[in-house]
Symmetry: C2
Subunit: 418 residues, 2 copies
């Protein structure tokens, strides 16, 4: 079957399941989630056997060590997936909530009520836990999902969805609620992007080139983030210990992820006090520093930074450093070069924190906290289906509530318009 016909067939089945899910009660979906978590644990050996197939093929294909790590499923990762699903099951049902309700002067009752979106498609790369997280968040919010993972994880993803189908069946829900695409045909992604009327939302997760390709092709609405060029700004009034702790954590705790810091901004009023201390700690941690001329006067070991450095997401132990004259120059730098993902200020000054939070045009603003907290789990969402640096519908980490829409329910007593 060609990719377009295949996509139409699976999406039509997903649509039917979405219509079924839209009429379920939250309790039934939560029971399904609990059963899914139990099935994942029960099928741990089977899932790990499928994962070994993927790992062997990946080893043959000489895939990078980082990708092998992301691909590997262990007992611990099964427990983590199941635990996240159980946490999602315990959350309040986002569906059916009344967002607003009021009477109009003519007596019409207007209600805005939260409903599932319908069919949500997630396109992602090699991490198999995305399969479990995305499926669970979609199920929680009453949506059917169509999941297209990377080809190197296909056996793992199918084994995870097979386990979750047992959970669906145990709660009397249709298998079409969770579909992992069982095809590595590259034509499937463009076909998904053009499936208007069948898919309501696409969330692409992965490298910038994957996401750009999806946006170029998409007729279906897309929510995405291209990259995380995150900043930490040490304000004139920043505490030294907090500055060191936050900068080290934001850069070094996990440098390969989107919420790691990529540029450090230091206020000129604090640079002499803070920059040499912070730079020493970063250098000790193996971070390569690339600085502006003023930061290199204070820390001569730094390499010079170029204009490109301000725009680069290194995803590595490299950091751009710039001395700025005051809060507004820091804000201007972030809004010019940043990616709207996550930006932090370290300060004791309440007015500086307020202005930074208001003026920096990013999904997450951290005040005296590491950029690494920008995450669905850390925000209490249980997991995340993706992170949005778009401004439409959802911004930042997307949880179950972000997979809902609403409808207007208007009740009259024979009302007609005059």
């Amino acid at each position: 079957m060609d990719a377009i016909a295949y996509v139409r067939e699976i999406c039509a089945a997903a649509r039917d399941s979405a219509a079924h899910l839209a009429l379920t009660q939250g309790r039934q979906r939560d029971e399904a989630l609990i059963s899914c978590a139990a099935a994942l644990r029960a099928q741990s050996d089977h899932i790990q056997a499928a994962n070994r197939k993927d790992l062997l093929a990946a080893a043959d294909a000489n895939i990078s060590k980082a990708m092998m790590e992301r691909l590997t499923i262990t007992d611990k990762s099964i427990q983590a997936m199941a635990g996240a699903i159980e946490q999602i099951a315990r959350q309040v049902d986002p569906v059916g909530v009344t967002i607003a309700a009021y009477d109009r002067p003519n007596g019409l009752r207007i209600e805005k009520r939260r409903t599932p979106i319908g069919v949500v498609c997630v396109i992602y790369e090699s991490r198999p836990n995305v399969t479990a997280d995305a499926a669970a968040l979609c199920l929680k919010s009453g949506n059917a999902c169509v999941l297209r993972g990377g080809k190197e994880a296909i056996n793992s993803n199918l084994a995870i969805s097979a386990a979750m189908h047992e959970g669906l069946a145990a709660a009397g829900l249709p298998a079409g609620a969770i579909t992992v695409i069982d095809s590595t045909d590259r034509a499937v992604v463009p076909a998904l992007c053009k499936a208007q009327g069948l898919i309501d939302l696409i969330v692409p997760r992965g490298g910038e080139s994957l996401i750009r390709a999806v946006v170029e092709d998409a007729l279906v609405p897309v929510i995405k983030h291209y990259m995380g060029n995150c900043h930490v700004y040490l304000h004139a009034d920043a505490d030294e210990k907090r500055s060191v702790d936050i900068v080290l954590n934001a850069k070094c705790q996990r440098p390969g992820v989107c919420n790691a810091m990529e540029t450090l901004l230091v206020d000129s009023a604090a640079a002499q006090r803070l920059l040499p201390v912070v730079a020493k700690k970063l250098a000790d941690a193996g971070v390569e520093l690339r600085g502006c001329p003023r930061s290199r006067q204070l820390v001569p070991d730094m390499k010079p930074a170029t204009e490109d450095d301000w725009r680069t997401e290194y995803l590595d132990l490299i950091l751009a450093v710039r001395v700025v004259d005051g809060l507004d120059e820091a804000i201007a730098h972030i809004n010019k070069y940043g990616s709207g993902h996550t930006d932090a200020i370290v300060t004791r000054d309440i007015e500086a924190a307020r202005r930074f939070a208001a003026a920096v045009d990013s999904a997450s603003i951290m005040v005296n906290a590491s950029t690494r907290f920008s995450d669905g789990g850390e925000y209490g969402l249980g997991a995340e289906v993706g992170i949005s640096t778009d401004k439409l519908h959802a911004r930042g980490p997307m949880g179950a509530e972000d997979l809902t829409t609403y409808k207007w329910i208007v009740t009259g007593q024979g009302h007609v318009r005059g």
Copy 2:
């Protein structure tokens, strides 16, 4: 200057103004709105003179009578525009509202706070009042707007925006907050669609072909509705008077608009009781009826309906009529043929109303009320920037709150991730 360079220049100015607006207080934006309304009234003669230029050109171009009507500005329409702006000014400020706030177990404070989107572009056809409505809703919500109206209304639109610039100046706000595109170059629309990073949202309003062209071209997120194929379903338990009143109003009060009824569904259990009465009233009002075989048995005068009739938005005094066997068949018909805009049920049965509202997958569900109420003004939004049949971000009539996004503000005391 070519269209792409022109669009980049005006959008860059709009972005700067958006950054300014994002830091304003609601009071200042409301003062600007009140001044805009006053300036529209004060410049009524000037605006109507500009409008006469457009009307003369339109008459030369042999434009349809309906379009001439939509294009015409009178004293009354100036008052209506100014009144809508004042109503918007009196609404609660949607910006700065805390949507959710909570402490995490580690003491991190998480807040989701409503903010403006940034730069909103509206692409529309010949109705000049859209200029005032869209500009006012964008200003209320702290957004800069870029407005591209139909070429036949360009003098009217520029005169309206000139008046509103006086209002902005009186409140100390930049003129770049409201930009009417002063070019009829057809290459401008594709350039707007591709202005990623400069425009945050495009709302196209108009015929289906305009909207499809925008969606095909767009790299910027789009919110839209293609059409309104709206239904009224007379349930087995429908009251006769309400049925007649609602059907007549939904079809005849203003047949050329998107919230007019296009298909009438009558339950087989009520068809004999209701359909002849309703059909007689519709025929008396000059409505051409096109019925399924069972409805033609009850009302032999009807023309036969074809499959195409179930999908057609007539925007005229024509109505498709179908007898259905029960609530679920009505729901299935609407979800198959409808456009997700507005669908109504007439019933005395609370369970039927509940199930219809839950299962019909449309932006607005009317219970014992005419579809014609599906409108930003009727919902109390003051005006609407558009109507969405999409499910992302906004659904149904879009008011000022729908032109906001949010940011996460996370406050710690030196928190780092373990």
